[in-house]
Symmetry: none
Subunit: 170 residues, 4 copies
C-alpha cells in the first residue's frame, strides 16, 4: 500500500490535505470528498490495532458514501460469519445514517418502531458494530462495520476506525 500512497502523496502535498486525495485517474469517476482508498486503509488499520489491543479477531468492512464496499479485511482466525456481518453492518449504518446501536434500540424489541426491518435490503444488522464515517465538516462519507467478538468490542473497534479517519483530516 505504501507504493500507492507515496505517489498520491507526492502529487498532492502542496495542493490538498492528504486524507482527501483521490488516486490519479479517478477524476470525474467518483464524487469529490467521497471515501478514498487512503481513508479506507486508515480506518481498517486503526480498527485492527484496536482489535489487537482487545485481543479479539475481527472482520472489518468499509463502505463509501454510496454504501458500496470500498475495503475489507478478515483477521486470521476470525469468524467466517463475520464476513457478511461486517459488510452488512457498514451498509446498514450508512443506509440509515446512524450507528447500528441506534438502530438496535428502534428495532430489537417487539412493538418497537422499526421492528422487523432486518429482513429488508437483503438482510440488515440490528445490533452494534456499524459506525458512520464523517469528514471534518461532519459530512457522511461512508461507514465501517466490525464483527468478531462481543457487541461492545465490535462497537469499540468500529469507532476506532471511524475516529482515525476524522483525525486524518486534521
Amino acid at each position: 500500500m505504501k507504493t500507492v500512497f507515496s505517489l498520491v502523496l507526492a502529487l498532492c502535498l502542496f495542493s490538498a490535505p492528504l486524507a482527501l486525495a483521490q488516486a490519479p485517474g479517478a477524476k470525474g469517476l467518483m464524487l469529490p470528498g467521497d471515501m478514498t482508498s487512503e481513508l479506507a486503509d486508515v480506518a481498517i488499520d486503526a480498527a485492527i490495532k484496536k482489535a489487537q489491543e482487545q485481543g479479539t479477531l475481527m472482520n472489518i468492512a468499509v463502505v463509501d458514501a454510496g454504501g458500496n464496499l470500498k475495503a475489507f479485511h478478515r483477521m486470521d482466525g476470525s469468524f467466517l460469519a463475520s464476513i457478511d456481518l461486517a459488510i452488512k453492518k457498514a451498509y446498514t449504518a450508512r443506509s440509515l445514517n446512524m450507528p447500528t446501536t441506534t438502530l438496535a434500540e428502534a428495532s430489537n424489541q417487539p412493538g418497537a418502531e422499526l421492528y422487523g426491518i432486518e429482513v429488508t435490503n437483503g438482510g440488515m444488522v440490528i445490533f452494534g458494530g456499524g459506525e458512520l464515517i464523517k469528514d471534518k465538516d461532519g459530512t457522511i462519507i461512508g461507514a465501517i462495520g466490525a464483527s468478531g467478538s462481543s457487541v461492545a468490542n465490535d462497537v469499540a473497534v468500529a469507532k476506532a476506525g471511524a475516529e482515525a479517519v476524522l483525525k486524518a483530516f486534521k
Copy 2:
C-alpha cells in the same frame, strides 16, 4: 463407501493415522488437516446410529473447515425442511466457531445481544443442532448439523457425530 476407504486404508496404513488420510489425488487441492471423506462418513454414521437409538428420523450435514458441504444424508421419512436446516446448522456452527445452542442464547430473545443475526449469511439457524468438529489437537476442521426431532434430540445426534470423529483420531 467401503471400496473407497479400503483403498485409502491400504495406502495409509503404515504412514499416517487413518482418520487423517486424504484420498489419493487430493494432494495440493485441499489443505492438509481439513475434513476428509472418511471423517465425514464417521460423523454421519455415528449420528444415524444415535438417531436410531432415539427412534428419530434425521437429516445430517457435514461441512469442512471452510464451511463448504462435505456430506449429507436424509433418513427415510425425515422432514424435507430439515435438508436446509441441517446444512445451515452445520454452516452456522463453523462460521461462528460455536455450537448453535450457544448462539441461541445470544440471539433468540428480543433485545438479546445478537437478536436478528439469523437474517444474515443467507439465513442462519439460531437453535441447537449444529456442533463443531475438531481434530485431536483441538483444531476446528468442520461442523455437523442435525435436524429432524426436538432440539434436544438434534443436539444429541450432532454431538454423537462430532464425538465419533474425535475418537477416530485416537
Copy 3:
C-alpha cells in the same frame, strides 16, 4: 452405514425386496417406492467406485422423486463449485424427467427450443452429468448428479450410480 442397514435387512428379509425397504418409522411419512437411504447409498458408492476407476474426483448428489436432496458426498480434493453443480444436475434431471445431456441439446444453442431455461428454478444445469434413477418397473424414483471432471466423465459416473440402483432391484 452397515449398522443401519443390517437392522433394516433383518426386518425386511422375508417380506420385501431389499432395495425397496424403507427405514422403520418412515411409514406414512414418505411415498411407498420413493428413493430410500439404502438406494441413495448404493448410487453414491457405485458412482465413487466409477470415479476411482477414472482417476477423477467427484461431487455426487442424489435427489428423491420429489426432487429433494437425499444424500450427497464430496470426494477429497474435488471442486467446491461442484457441490452446487452436482445438486443442481440431479434436480434438473428429475424436474424435467430427462438426463441433463438431453436438456443440453434442447437449450445450449441460441434459437434452441429451451434456450435460456438455465436461469429458471434458481439455476438449472444444461450440460451432462444428471441422470434419472428408476426402479425395476421404470418408474422415476429420483435422480443423480455428478460433477468434477469432463462432462463425459461426469455422465459416466452418474450413469454408474443410476445403473447400480436398477441392479439392486433384481
Copy 4:
C-alpha cells in the same frame, strides 16, 4: 497494516517462514497453511502496483482455501460493478481450481462443454481475471480476482498478485 505484521514478524522470525505466519490467537481456528492476512495484503499490494503501472483502476478480492473472502480493495474511481465481479472471479477460480480464463474457453460459446455454468453457485464469472494462489509446494491456498479494465489487464493484475504471494514464500 504495518502494526499488525510487525508483531507477527517479531513472534515468528526465528520459528517459521514469514509468509506462513498466522496471527497470534488464530491457532485452532483456521487450518495451518491457509491464506493469512499477511499473504492477502501481499497479493493486493502487488495487484494495485500492477494496476498503477497499467494506469487502470481495479477492484481486487482475495479468498482463502475455502473460497471465503479474506481481503478486498477498491481503487478510487474503479467500477462499482467490479466489487461483485472481483469477489466472484476469486471464488470461481478457487471453486474450480483453474484460472477463469480456462473456464472461459470451456463455457463462453453456445454448445461449449460447460455452457451455462455461470448461473450456478449464485453466479460465476466466465471470463478472465480470477487466478489461483498457491504456496511454495503448489498447494492451492486461495485465489485472487481483479476487475476494472479489459480482461487482459484484469488477468495481468490478478497474476501479479498471485505471483507476489509465491515469491513471499521464497
